[in-house]
Amino acid sequence: MPKFNANGLLRSFAAEMKKPWTAESLWYETVAKHPPTFQYARRIVPLYDPNKVKSRGKRLRKSMYQPQEIQWPEDKLRKRFYRDHPWELARPQIIAENDGNDQQYCDWSHMDQPRKALSGESVVQRTLWLIENSNMPVENAYDQARKEFYHLRAEQEIQQRVAHDQAQALGAVFTKSDLELGYEMDQNALNSWFDNASQYAEANRTKFTDPSVDISKTTQ
């Protein structure tokens, strides 16, 4: 008898219902109409990797039930892009989806999408679109998508710089950025630590020095 057997509710309650003082529960008809799954039989999973079929004997029998690795054509392109441009991973991204149909609002005949921020995923999808629709080889499609990406990134940077200059011209005052504030706080912490450490060392000078050494000579 396993510890958890909640799916055997009807069977255990049938024994209970034989007692004369037990009334029929309110849920009985519902559970009888929708009987719970009693046995979770393992299912044979499809093999995505044909190399695993070469296994023999017990390994093949075991691999029939093991979940297989899921692979997509985008994986190689994505890995290559982020290996070539590792700093793209440092950009903040929004990973929450509005509804599950977000990919239907994108038209990858061009790189810029109104409802999606520019990222490495845009390069991957654009590359796949070029491979399918323009019959380009992978190298040429990737290069074209990459160049379009560079162009759009440069446009973004220029727009930000122009907006910054316009705001300053119209009177905006930009204070220190978060990084500069962080540096200042770090430096203040280090300075206070240095002062405390100096006072501590000065107060405990005799503890830290060897009495056999003559200190008066070192001070001169």
Binding site: F4, N7, L26, W27, V31, P67, I70, D99
Partner: protein, 263 residues
């Protein structure tokens, strides 16, 4: 030059005119996901779809090293070190759970919602209020069902009623023991004692079973991601919305009968 004074009617007219000018200015925001909206106004079961489950992150399981082999029928594959739950299986089991909740609500059964994780309090309370049931969001008291005479008796409280002037006053009567007819557990792994007590007292349970949980802990498992608040909010909202629809249907029948009664 002093500005001329306007009468109140003219001020109201000017305000309406300015509003007519200005209400067309600006961008129209495309429909987007809002966390509080899915708690206040959850999706009805007719809007249940695979893209909705996919956007909620219901397909993301746990690490492959802490896998419970009994969940093998629910798993689609593994990717990036985690198991991916098959949303086809999720859809099948979720629809069965919806049917169970609908039947229980039709019989005016008591539904108890349990969600003891951080962030699940709002959705659990809203779901229980919508389904006219009860909720537990902090801790399952051991013995709440198996030792109901002692544990529920010590919870205190008394029945309130209104006096002649409509003011609420306390009475000496205490509420009787509440035994739920159905329990919805959003995180069964952390509420194992609740699952065991429901099993011993023969109460059917609906629970979200991740890839590291045992599906035999609950009567009706829903293979989904129990670590995503969006997914648990979606499932709790769906089940409570089903119960609410059944109650409204019963009320409509009563309202229809009321007009046919003789004067």
């Amino acid at each position: 030059m002093l500005s001329r004074k306007l009468s109140p009617e003219q001020l109201v007219a000017r305000r309406l005119k300015i509003r007519d000018w200005n209400h067309k200015i600006g961008a129209v925001v495309a429909p987007h996901y809002s966390p509080t909206l899915s708690i206040r106004n959850p999706a009805p079961p007719s809007q249940l779809s695979l893209p909705l489950l996919l956007s909620s992150g219901a397909h993301l399981g746990h690490s492959t090293s802490i896998w419970n082999p009994y969940t093998q029928p629910f798993i689609y594959g593994k990717r990036e070190g985690i198991h991916i739950i098959s949303l086809d299986q999720t859809m099948v089991y979720l629809r069965r759970a919806i049917s169970v909740v609908r039947s229980i609500a039709k019989e005016n059964g008591i539904i108890l919602f349990i969600g003891t994780r951080n962030g699940q309090k709002d959705s659990v309370v809203a779901a229980a209020k919508r389904a006219r049931g009860y909720h537990i969001f902090d801790r399952w008291l051991p013995g709440l069902l198996t030792n109901a005479r002692e544990v529920q008796g010590k919870l205190g409280g008394s029945i309130l009623c209104k006096d002649n002037r409509g003011k609420l006053i306390q009475t000496d009567k205490k509420p009787s023991y509440v035994f739920p007819d159905l329990m919805v557990i959003l995180n069964p792994l952390e509420n194992k004692s609740a699952c065991l007590e429901a099993q011993k007292t023969h109460v059917p349970t609906i629970g979200i079973i991740d890839t590291d949980a045992d599906p035999r802990m609950v009567t009706y498992p829903i293979p989904a991601n129990d670590d995503s608040l969006r997914c648990t909010d979606l499932i709790a909202g769906l089940l409570s919305r089903v119960a609410e629809q059944e109650y409204q249907k019963a009320n409509q029948a009563f309202e229809k009968d009321k007009f046919t009664l003789p004067l």
